[in-house]
């Protein structure tokens, strides 16, 4: 078990490093640099004193060779220092940790909704013997995946804020303010959970052990929940781990639509302003959350499937 954890941790560190490096290279290849973007805000860059620009570049280290910059930044990033935001001057790490709780609330609520509603939909769709109901329920996930998030957000705002006045249309206040953004974010995520779980439930219900359970005299509900669901939840769990990445990406759109503070809006602003240190910080931060959630998924796996831990020692099996 401990070896399994160490292996997974080493992989996590590798992923973080790769995320950092790739984002560094991509940002380096982009035309223009943050200093001219910063200086050019509101003014024609030609009017600015080139000497001043050079001084700024020197201050941020943009005049050094790329490799030196990379080593510099990487060394500091390892210690949690991603430098200062070019547009606000605040420390990147502080900016991100300030925005994080709001986004965690949003994505956490959305994930919960996605799993509960998506999972429930899948269980219901595969349980019902009404053909039309099954067809109807199974057609919802593709629909949920294909409608754009911002559109769902706007429709919800129109209906529940402007017409019914149940929930606020924007802002960060309290649980009520969380409902619409969380639902919006949960729609595509829950749809994917439902799709994968429904598919694997149908596969599981086709297995021989289900017939054994039926031969025992087990009822349909018992077979569905106690036998099929646990086996079917394994592929769905993998998807949930991957969906955390989608949720963070979705937060950019949802936080913009609902004017919520959070990581997503910080990201949107940083990209618009070509705020390279901040964008880098966001990338690594996002990767960190993604890696952590998948690490949790990996650690939950053996609890759900007793075969997993043994599987690593099975490689030497023979015929």
């Amino acid at each position: 078990m401990s070896r399994y954890v160490i292996k997974r941790l080493a992989q996590a560190v590798g992923v973080l490093w790769a995320a950092y490096t790739v984002s560094f290279l991509v940002l380096d290849f982009l035309p223009g640099d943050p200093v001219s973007a910063m200086a050019g805000a509101g003014a024609d860059s030609a009017e600015i004193d080139p000497a001043q620009l050079a001084a700024l570049r020197h201050q941020y280290g943009f005049d050094k060779p790329v490799l030196v910059q990379y080593a510099d930044y990487l060394g500091r990033a390892v210690r949690g220092d991603f430098g200062d935001s070019v547009s606000t001057g605040r420390a990147v790490t502080a900016t991100l940790t300030d925005a994080l709780p709001q986004t965690l609330q949003l994505t956490g609520a959305a994930l919960l909704l996605a799993v509960v509603i998506g999972g429930g939909l899948a269980v219901l769709a595969t349980y019902t013997r009404q053909r039309w109901l099954r067809q109807l329920l199974l057609s919802l996930p593709p629909l949920g995946v294909s409608v754009p998030t911002f559109w769902v957000g706007l429709v919800l705002v129109e209906a529940f804020s402007f017409r019914l006045r149940w929930f606020p249309a924007f802002g960060n206040d309290g649980l009520r303010g969380l409902v619409l953004p969380a639902v919006t974010l949960a729609v595509p995520t829950g749809a994917l959970v439902a799709q994968v779980l429904a598919k694997s439930l149908l596969t599981a219900l086709d297995q021989a052990y289900v017939e054994t359970a039926r031969a025992k005299g087990a009822g349909r509900w018992r077979i569905h929940l106690r036998h099929a669901l646990r086996n079917a939840s394994l592929p769905a769990l993998t998807v949930v781990g991957l969906l955390v990445g989608q949720l963070i990406a979705g937060a950019v759109v949802v936080e913009t639509v609902f004017s919520r503070d959070g990581l997503g809006r910080v990201t949107a602003a940083a990209v618009t302003a070509q705020d390279i240190p901040l964008v880098q910080g966001v990338v690594v931060f996002g990767a960190l959350i993604f890696v952590l959630s998948n690490l949790i998924v990996d650690l939950v796996y053996p609890l759900l499937d007793p075969r997993i831990v043994v599987a690593s020692s099975r490689k030497a099996s023979f015929a």
């Binding site: 021989a208 017939e211 054994t212 031969a215 025992k216 087990a218 086996n231 075969r307 015929a319």
Partner: protein, 564 residues
């Protein structure tokens, strides 16, 4: 309707009234092309306390009949007509809720394949306890200990440990015993055993069948045994029902069926059952080509293969899968490696084919040392040594046409052009007695026997000197087995190819092999010609294997089932 009226006093037409009485049962499956009948007007009686065997090939409807009894048909299956009287009930008219009180409690099922029939994520004890919990026979507190007791009854050596284990931690035989525990837990009157041992080794098969028989004798349980193996039926059943194409063609006491079969199909089944034919010399096995004076084609000297077992944290344990194995194989000859799963016979074959490296020892092919052959040398060996796998359902790429399957080795070695390769494929199909029209079909459109013919054609495409056959017929019906074995012998006589034939079934080996090597725990415990081994088995293990061949009992006056 729970009056104390016994069946005997009500009907009284027979000495023993049937526990289960099927009349005019018809079952069909809905397919895209309309309903396909699987069982047509079957009448079947199962008398209390007896073992009744339903025998037939795959597709004969025997399994469908068995599943129809407890209405566990596939989703597209439907009972069209007939009655299934069990005790006072007609099972065909019960509601789903009423059926649940019958399933598990009054009729238990032992399924076919123990490797997939237990829930992989639940402990074995839990799965046995579930039956007791469903039928209210145990409380949450008493169920675990009762499950352990039932596992013990089913013949598991250490039931308490076993109950805590997951299915993947048990061997196939132990899993089947766990499934028997599931079936007997609620002490049902009837147990339906659907090919309970066809996925198991012969020796394990024997133990499992002994266990079932022991249980029926001790508790008076009635058994409906579904099997494709007449030998198994002959050993275990008092009555035999022979099914073919969805209909019962013959039924009667086991002895009568075996000694005086009335129906042509029964006679055919008897003739092709390898275990029942004593010393049937495979008609076409060539004996003259045994030219042992020349250099052997394959020579294995003191081969050892070890696997590291990483499970143990402290010391690194190794497993000796092949332990000092030596043998020679001559051109045009067949050497059979016989043993149970885990005996190292497949690993030995992999060593010969250079699919795995030996830890020690040497492998010579046609005089050349290929022990460490790599790259071009190993590739050359691939061309001269081919393989036929056990499972024809899995070894053919489902997206390839048969033509593509057969010509793939030719394409891999860039032999000929498109046209000549297709010509070769046609010729090979002809050789294995398949029509040329098969060329454009997909594996899924063929039967198991036809697929194995295709696999053989593919193995022969490059005209190899050696074909390794890894349990080539164990996934096939008995009558098809005989045809494929005959084909292999015929091809050997024509082409002079040598076979390394791997099997757990001595009855099959007797029909095809010249030489036999019996393997156990990685070692060859006995080797010799087929005649020697079958007439004077030297090693105790060989005798055990011979005794495990089903059907051996019916030769002796074995009308009484209590011969154990």
């Amino acid at each position: 309707m729970t009056g104390p009226v016994t069946n005997e006093s009500r009907t009284g037409e027979d000495v023993t009234t049937a526990l289960l009485e099927i009349r005019g049962l018809s079952v069909s499956y809905d397919t895209r092309g309309g309903p396909v009948p699987a069982v047509r007007g079957v009448d079947l009686d199962v008398r209390p306390g007896e073992v009744t065997a339903v025998v037939g090939e795959s597709g004969s409807g025997k399994s469908t009949t068995a599943h129809a009894i407890i209405r566990l048909l596939a989703a597209n299956g439907r009972i069209d007509a007939g009655t299934i009287r069990f005790g006072r009930h007609d099972l065909t008219t019960l509601s789903e809720a009423e059926l649940r009180t019958v399933r598990g409690a009054q009729i238990g099922l032992v399924p076919q394949d123990p490797s997939v029939s237990l829930n992989p994520v639940k402990r074995v004890g839990e799965q046995v306890a579930e039956v007791l919990r469903i039928h209210g026979l145990a409380t949450r507190r008493t169920a675990p200990s009762e499950a352990i007791a039932v596992l013990g009854q089913a013949g598991l050596p250490d039931p308490a440990t076993c109950a805590r284990q997951y299915p993947h931690e048990l061997s196939g035989g132990m899993r089947q015993r766990a499934l028997i525990a599931v079936a007997i837990a609620a002490k049902p009157k009837l147990i339906i055993a659907d090919e309970p041992t066809s996925a198991l080794d012969v020796t394990v098969q024997r133990v499992i069948l002994d266990q079932l028989q022991h249980l029926t004798e001790e508790y008076g349980t009635t058994v409906l045994l579904v099997t494709h193996d007449l030998g198994v039926a002959a050993d275990r059943a008092q009555r035999v029902v022979v099914m073919s194409q969805g209909q019962v063609v013959e039924t009667g006491p086991t002895r009568a069926i075996l000694e005086d079969p009335q129906h042509a199909y029964t006679r055919q089944l008897l003739a092709s059952a390898p275990s029942l034919t004593t010393a049937r010399p495979a008609a076409t096995v060539s004996t003259s080509t045994a030219d042992t004076a020349t250099a052997p084609l394959v020579e294995v000297r003191n081969a050892v293969k070890e696997f590291r077992l990483p499970r143990a944290a402290g010391e690194s344990r190794t497993l000796r899968a092949v332990d000092d194995v030596s043998f020679t194989l001559h051109r045009g000859q067949t050497l059979a490696l016989v043993g149970e799963s885990g005996s190292g016979k497949s690993t030995t074959a992999r060593l010969v084919l250079r699919l795995t490296d030996p830890t020690a020892g040497r492998v010579l092919f046609d005089g050349a040392d290929v022990t460490t052959a790599r790259g071009a040398g190993a590739r050359q060996l691939r061309r001269r040594a081919q393989l036929v796998y056990q499972n024809p359902y899995a070894s053919l790429d489902p997206r390839f046409s048969i033509g593509e399957v057969i010509t793939e080795p030719l394409r891999a070695f860039k032999v000929g052009d498109r046209r000549s390769r297709l010509d070769r494929a046609r010729e090979l199909l002809d050789r294995v007695a398949l029509p040329a029209s098969t060329l454009d079909r997909r594996p899924a459109e063929l039967s198991g026997g036809q697929r194995q013919r295709v696999a053989i054609a593919r193995a022969l495409a490059l005209s190899p000197d050696l074909v390794v056959c890894d349990e080539p017929v164990s996934a096939l019906d008995v009558s098809v087995q005989a045809q494929v074995l005959d084909l292999l012998a015929e091809l050997q006589a024509d082409t002079g190819v040598a076979y390394l034939f791997i099997s757990h079934d001595l009855a099959v080996v007797r029909q095809i092999a010249h030489q036999v090597a019996v393997m156990r725990s990685g070692r060859i415990v006995e080797a010799g010609t087929v005649e020697e081994l079958f007439t004077h088995p030297g090693h105790e293990y060989t005798r055990e294997l011979l005794a495990a061949i089903p059907g051996g009992r019916h030769a002796s006056p074995a009308a009484e089932p209590t011969t154990t």
